[in-house]
Symmetry: C2
């Protein structure tokens, strides 16, 4: 059985649950560690469960039949994913993929149990709905970028976000990987990176993309 303290950190409604609900949720949560690149959820119709990130980083993305992809949002310590438990959410008819970006420890709550408790506890249900609205907002931001922003701005935003996530000036992703995040082709990323390098914002080398002029890049991302 999972340590209840861990769940109380991940779920703000924990203290509002009854002792039997706490025990049931803890008994139906498993801990799993994923290696970088490993698939956590997706592909089929399966309903993995509610994911709570204990440490590491998950990426939630859409994948087309032809292998084209785009990142919808990322989850770090303390973040939750409900879309991996869409079987318990009325009207959610799409499926997303979730993979580990680094070594990631995840608490996975059985979706039937979360659903059962949410039906009894307005706090657990409210939390689920708040998370769904938050993801909806994040996805709207993806559409906004896709549709209304030029690729140089989108790449500037992405590099700054990635630098913050990695806590490093150097981003060690390939052009192919960045293209997957942004839902575009590798050639497009390479071309725009060349432009950013020409402008002196970044340097591109074998070890990765290094931000040289953070201020300039931030201005571009505005």
């Amino acid at each position: 059985m999972i340590d209840e303290k861990l769940l109380s950190k991940l779920y703000p409604f924990w203290d509002k649950l009854t002792p039997p609900h706490k025990a049931e949720m803890a008994a139906n949560t498993v801990l799993r560690t994923y290696e970088p690149g490993e698939i956590v959820h997706g592909g089929g119709q399966e309903c993995t469960g509610v994911l709570g990130v204990i440490s590491g980083r998950l990426r939630t993305f859409m994948l087309s039949d032809e292998g084209k992809e785009i990142t919808l949002f990322r989850l770090i310590d303390g973040d939750n994913c409900m879309l991996s438990a869409s079987c318990m959410i009325k009207n959610i008819s799409f499926d997303v993929h979730v993979s580990a970006e680094v070594k990631t420890e995840v608490a996975i709550i059985n979706p039937a149990i979360y659903d059962k408790i949410a039906k009894k506890s307005p706090h657990a249900e409210g939390f689920m709905n708040d998370i769904i609205s938050m993801r909806f907002s994040e996805v709207m931001w993806v559409i906004e970028q896709l549709l209304f922003m030029k690729m140089d701005k989108r790449l500037a935003i992405f590099l700054l976000e990635q630098s913050a996530l990695d806590d490093s000036d150097t981003i060690t992703l390939t052009h192919e990987q960045i293209a997957g995040h942004l839902g575009t082709a590798r050639e497009v990323v390479s071309r725009v990176l060349k432009y950013l390098a020409n402008e002196g914002y970044v340097s591109v080398s074998r070890k990765g993309i290094t931000i040289l002029n953070r201020k300039g890049l931030s201005k571009m991302a505005e």
Copy 2:
């Protein structure tokens, strides 16, 4: 005061409300009729309210600072929009625009009153969350089309949908208007329409776009 029968048709949870809640909701709902093209919601930070379509058709769309747009979903008789009342929804940080496509009669519930009643009635709250999840699914479908589908397929899907909405083989929208729905440029729509006309799927004339080969167009939309 609005006729309660109208609200009972729009809101499936109506019978579950207490008589005082019913009276309060009815007293805080206004009926408005919008002319084709009229803006129902959007632009600023205002929170118009929960929209229930009595008759006609509304279009919900995103609009960039530069005037670029894309249709997210449409609302017909009996449909509801909660995003026009986003002030009452935690974590919804984006704003959408809503306009009338034809003469449309709408019941607008004061968002503070809906919010207050939803906090007391799990049925009213559940309905709100179900609608939000439904719109989230519709928006994911927009991303999927934007990202993963070629324009000929997207246009075929749009023409078939529009033909169903108008209950007519002829679509009387301009190329510019279609471009606005699909988040693309007029030139792209004209080029793809020319291709569809060359293939014999549609004919394009001054009075509009007429579907000539519905079977072929449907196959293209698959």
